[in-house]
């Protein structure tokens, strides 16, 4: 039986939802208050948003046979920049009157961080894990340097709306994610870009000989990864009305990689599925929420994640499938 790759995370998600239908009272309850929906399902989507955003960029990066470990640190930097600008703590740049400018500048900084990664990987030829490790280590240091190690709190209703507001009855962060997702998905799937990205990941050298500028593709996907990390960082700081350089986005790079893997994109590059990563991210958040509502120690989610990573990469491994198939078809060896 050969299922479509996205079927596996969908089945997983369905199982979790089914479990909650029986064992978690009120899981499906939705309530409309002040033009906004409330309920466990909405909560899952809202909490999944930062990882959902990161996983868009991470999917493209992984499709080129790369990985971006710096997204958590970039989130912290973007949050710090936004918080400093909106509180007018930057002496030479007074833009607190325009939240749009504040957000734009934060996103430009985050995109620049992504381009830095992309140049190291695409132009200089450093392995992705190592290249992005540099910014993962130094980036959080930069964010702490910007904020002076303190939480920078602010009081700006317009910026806060990005984190806590709502639109169309849904939480604002989730709506922002939908917009970003549709834009990027259309951009890579309705143009040849997606194909170029897959070609780069399958065989960068062959792609180059076929006329695909694989080094530029790499710079581009890391830039997108930086940009979406910036959006996630701004939302995260708007949500708590503060920039927390120490904890913003901590370990989120791992959650994003996990969402992509669970979503069925091969971690060795090539074919990718943006929608799969979305299902993967929602699945992981649904699992986390379920574990928490059952009153199990929150630390159990870490153990669950570990087991899921191992299971997913084993299922993706040709060697594992081969040893499994042999045992099934050849009773003499079993």
């Amino acid at each position: 039986m050969k299922l479509h790759p996205i079927a596996y995370p969908l089945i997983g998600l369905a199982l979790i939802l089914l479990f909650n239908a029986f064992f978690t009272p009120g899981f499906y309850a939705l309530e409309l208050r002040d033009g906004r929906l409330y309920g466990s399902l909405i909560d899952v989507l809202n909490r999944a948003t930062p990882v959902l955003l990161l996983s868009i960029g991470m999917t493209l990066v992984i499709a080129t046979k790369g990985v971006d470990l710096s997204v958590g640190a970039v989130m912290a930097i973007a949050g710090a920049v936004a918080a400093l600008l909106v509180t007018d703590k930057v002496s030479f740049l007074s833009v607190s009157h325009s939240v749009l400018l504040v957000v734009l500048i934060a996103l430009v900084v985050a995109t620049f961080a992504g381009v830095f990664n992309g140049v190291l990987v695409g132009k200089v030829g450093i392995q992705p894990i190592v290249a992005t490790l540099i910014l993962m280590v130094a980036g959080r240091g930069v964010a702490q340097l910007l904020t002076g190690g303190q939480n920078v709190t602010f009081n700006n209703p317009a910026l806060e709306r990005l984190g806590t507001g709502s639109a169309f009855g849904l939480p604002m962060p989730f709506v922002i994610f939908i917009v970003v997702f549709v834009l990027i998905a259309v951009f890579v799937r309705k143009t040849a870009l997606g194909l170029f990205i897959e070609a780069t990941g399958s065989n960068a050298e062959a792609a180059r000989l076929a006329g695909v500028a694989s080094d530029k593709m790499k710079v581009a996907v890391y830039a997108v990864s930086g940009l979406v990390a910036g959006i996630a960082g701004v939302i995260a700081c708007a949500d708590i009305r503060a920039a927390d350089a120490n904890n913003a986005g901590l370990y989120m790079e791992l959650d994003a990689i996990l969402a992509v893997a669970v979503g069925g994109t091969s971690l060795s590059g090539g074919r990718f599925s943006l929608l799969g990563s979305v299902v993967g991210a929602v699945l992981m958040q649904a699992l986390t929420t379920t574990i928490l509502t059952r009153g199990v120690s929150p630390h159990a989610t870490l153990v669950a994640k570990a087991l899921i990573i191992v299971a997913v990469i084993l299922l993706q491994s040709p060697e594992f499938r081969a040893s499994f198939a042999r045992r099934k078809h050849d009773p003499a060896r079993a």
Partner: protein, 319 residues
Amino acid sequence: MTLRAPRLHLPVLATLAVLVVLYVAASIRFENFATLRVFMNFLGDNAFLGIVAIGMTYVIITGGIDLSVGAVIGCTTICTAVLIQGQQYHPVAAFAVVIAAGTLLGATQGWLIQRFNLQPFLVTLAGLFLCRGLGLWISSESVQAKHATFQTLEKIRIPVSDGVWLPFTEIVFITVLLVGAYVLRHTRFGRTVYAIGGDEQSAHLMGLPVARTKIGVYALSGFCASLGGVVLVMYTSAGNAINGTGLELDAIAAVVIGGTLLTGGYGSVFGTFFGLLIFAVMQSAITFEGTLSSWWAKIVTGVLLLAFILMQRMLQRSR
């Protein structure tokens, strides 16, 4: 060979040069920096990191990476403390149990990586989640570990000069350093580690025990990480599941700054030792300065990492 040797040694020489420059600059800037006591503190404060970095050196020379070490340290310290304090284990028995468990975990990771050709960073990422989760599950608060044996162990120390001693934890570190350097250079296992990093397929065709050695290096890294955890328990007399958060990055940084190629095949344990000392000098200098904040250490580490990786890249291209 004589032509290639200086170029091959360039990364380690660069590491030494950076170390000397940093040390001399700090000694001129601060009074009392260039004292034996401060130097001994470099070793003492970083003994556990150093032990972990030596295991990491082996893994990176095979072309792999181990992200689980920081979490293994955290899990080890909390398990040790709980075994001694809660379960009334004798410390030596507790040490043996946690080191055996750490080694087994490392070997399991190595087996998964080798047998199913999985990416090391993903498998060890799972190890990171597993250990952090288990450790926090056991106890999310710090647990004290007090036992008479700790005082006995503290008495084991080597006099270096007037009033300056080499304490037990540092003796452990230096032993691991010397044994690690010897095994890597002069045993069949060590030579196979280099061969795998140079070209795994060739190593296999040469009839070297590739599978066993690959599993071995991850087991060694697990051993070093759990030993590092034990040393940390002895140093702080407590266990905490969040110990060693982000330590994997510091260990990788020490290895890379120490001149080991991240693509595998080239590196040395002593290089890692120098990398660790750069780390230690930097941190002490920041403490001595007083006004500088701890995040500068992260930024300087990042800049050093970048510089050394770019240098490695240029050396590889010109070869």
